[in-house]
């Protein structure tokens, strides 16, 4: 069935930090299966926006309407807190820039992956472990590392573990903040490839924040360009990158091409 409603409808989203603007009057729709990239220079409000979208931060104004599975479109900030938290743990995934923010460093890789299953009531150890093994394989972590502690993992492995931990519950919507940002250039490409494959295979809807236009180019169908908290340009990724309209976007693209 073709989806007739967007997965996310964002309207007039604004968040201030005291007098300072985090993000201002942001509106957009995200359709099922769509990957939206948010780009912009440091301090332009990308993380603030992503945190508001994913209910990690309460906006000062505006709405984030999410198409829930059972009750249709709902403003996530009007949901009761238990429902919102359940949504965050099941229907959504949140991939943090620094894997330690999204992982439990004190428990094994397998437990990290299995946690979401247990959180929604899985009580069969054998099945939880089988899922964990399966997901480690899908993010290209050797299966015999399942009982190892995350601190014995490389940065790239940690980020892949964080991704597996999020995807195990089959979320429909994944938020990522600079997923390759904490990694060496040499391992960024591999992670990007992996993400690209998973997003396509699973038909995930994704909002990905990055200031790396190569990441945006490979992953995102559509881009929003932010500056000083506001969206200054948006459109299909190729259009925005190859034929930027706004002077700021032109500068942003040029600065990448001619560093």
């Amino acid at each position: 069935m073709m989806a007739a409603t967007p997965l996310l409808q964002v309207r007039g989203l604004t968040r201030r930090y005291g007098a300072r603007i985090g993000c201002r009057d942001v509106s957009f729709d995200l359709w099922p299966g769509e990957v939206l990239g948010i780009v912009g220079e440091s301090g332009s409000g990308k993380t603030t926006l992503l945190k508001c979208l994913s209910a990690q931060l309460e906006p000062d104004a505006g709405q984030v309407v999410y198409a829930t599975r059972d009750e249709g479109p709902r403003d996530i900030f009007a949901l009761s807190e238990p429902r919102r938290r359940l949504l965050m743990r099941t229907d959504w995934g949140i991939v943090h820039q620094h894997p330690v923010e999204g992982l439990r460093m004190g428990v094994s890789a397998g437990a990290n992956v299995g946690e979401r299953l247990m959180a929604v009531g899985a009580r069969n150890y054998g099945r939880i472990r089988a899922s964990a093994l399966d997901w480690l394989g899908r993010v290209e972590i050797a299966r015999d590392r399942i009982d190892d502690m995350p601190r014995t993992f490389s940065g790239g492995m940690l980020q892949r573990l964080q991704i597996a931990r999020n995807l195990v519950s089959s979320p429909r919507l994944v938020f990522m903040d600079e997923p390759t940002g904490s990694l060496d250039v040499s391992v960024q490409a591999r992670l990007l490839d992996l993400l690209h494959g998973l997003v396509a295979d699973l038909g995930l809807s994704v909002v990905v924040v990055t200031h790396d236009l190569a990441v945006a180019r490979l992953l995102a169908h559509r881009l929003m360009v932010m500056r000083a908290g506001s969206v200054v340009e948006e459109g299909l990724t190729d259009q925005v990158l190859d034929d930027p309209q706004h002077a700021y976007t032109q500068l942003l693209v040029a600065s990448i091409l001619h560093p």
Binding site: E81, R85, V107, M118
Partner: protein
């Protein structure tokens, strides 16, 4: 101890603690904060349990204090003496004769009755602390019954040991609602928590929390379908009284490494021996049965 109020604490403090206890009884398994007082005993000695006992004890009570299952360890003797001096109430080593039992590490083998209260000394009350260091977050997890992650700990046990190896302070759900630490009792004692006719009170002094399991409340030990909750089992029976269904301690009996297993609950063991039950080495501890008989 002249000049002290009955049971050491002043009446206002006792009323404050009783209010916390009443709230705890009304919300089984919920940790109620209270203004824990300094006691003339070190924290490690169970000042939380002592304050609970001080708040509920009356002249007509008979107090038993156990530590590691025994009534004669330093800790148990000191607490018993403390209450004997500050209240003048009768004390006993017999579970059957006690109206209040303050304990660390064990629940008596003998089934408790509706006219008895057991008070547990709790070092760490929060079952989610290992998972989440922030108090604001653990409170929210309790409020929203977000307990799924608690199974992560059991998962780690099975992954590492092939079975749930947690043997003490084994996490339980109380009344199908609140996750609770039963204090460092062996999981062998967990089934005794379930639907006990006695009121069960838990006091944590350093962490300033009181919680309760009211009589006949369901207490469920967490587990997996394919790794169900199990209690410790022993090959042997108690060497002294022959009991095959009690919690056993290993005791070294000579300097050649000889060891035997005996009931950890010394009152239970003595009662059985007095009733004529005999184990394989009844004199192994040089303690003839009549010494512990009434």
């Amino acid at each position: 101890m002249d000049g002290y109020n009955f049971a050491y604490l002043d009446e206002q403090t006792k009323r404050m603690i009783r209010r916390a206890i009443l709230k705890a009884v009304a919300i089984p398994g919920y940790q109620v904060p209270f203004a824990s007082r300094e006691m003339p005993l070190p924290y490690g000695w169970g000042t939380g349990g002592i304050q609970v006992t001080a708040a509920i004890i009356g002249l007509a009570d008979t107090l038993k204090v156990i530590d590691q299952g025994a009534d004669d360890t330093t800790n148990a003797v000191s607490i018993r003496r403390f209450f004997a001096r500050t209240t003048g109430v009768a004390t006993t080593e017999r579970t059957a004769d006690a109206t209040i039992i303050q304990t660390r590490h064990r629940i008596p083998e003998r089934s408790l009755r509706a006219d008895q209260i057991i008070v547990f000394q709790v070092p760490i009350p929060e079952p989610l602390r290992w998972l989440e260091p922030r108090e604001t977050e653990t409170r929210k997890m309790h409020a929203l019954s977000e307990y799924g992650a608690m199974h992560v700990k059991l998962y780690e046990d099975v992954a590492r040991h092939g079975r749930i190896a947690t043997a003490y302070d084994y996490p339980v759900m109380v009344g199908g609602r609140y996750l609770m630490r039963p204090s460092p009792i062996p999981k062998f004692d967990n089934p005794k928590l379930d639907r006990s006719p006695a009121l069960q009170l838990f006091g944590a002094g350093r962490e300033k929390r009181i919680y309760a399991v009211p009589p006949h409340t369901e207490v469920y030990s967490l587990d997996f379908e394919d790794h169900p909750f199990e209690v410790q089992k022993w090959e042997q029976a108690c060497a002294l009284c022959g009991a095959g269904d009690s919690f056993l301690d290993e005791v070294i009996v000579d300097d050649r490494g000889g060891r035997i297993f005996v009931c950890s609950d010394s009152d239970h063991c003595g009662e059985r021996r007095a009733a004529g039950h005999v184990g394989a080495q009844p004199d192994a501890l040089g303690q003839p049965a009549d010494k512990v008989a009434p």
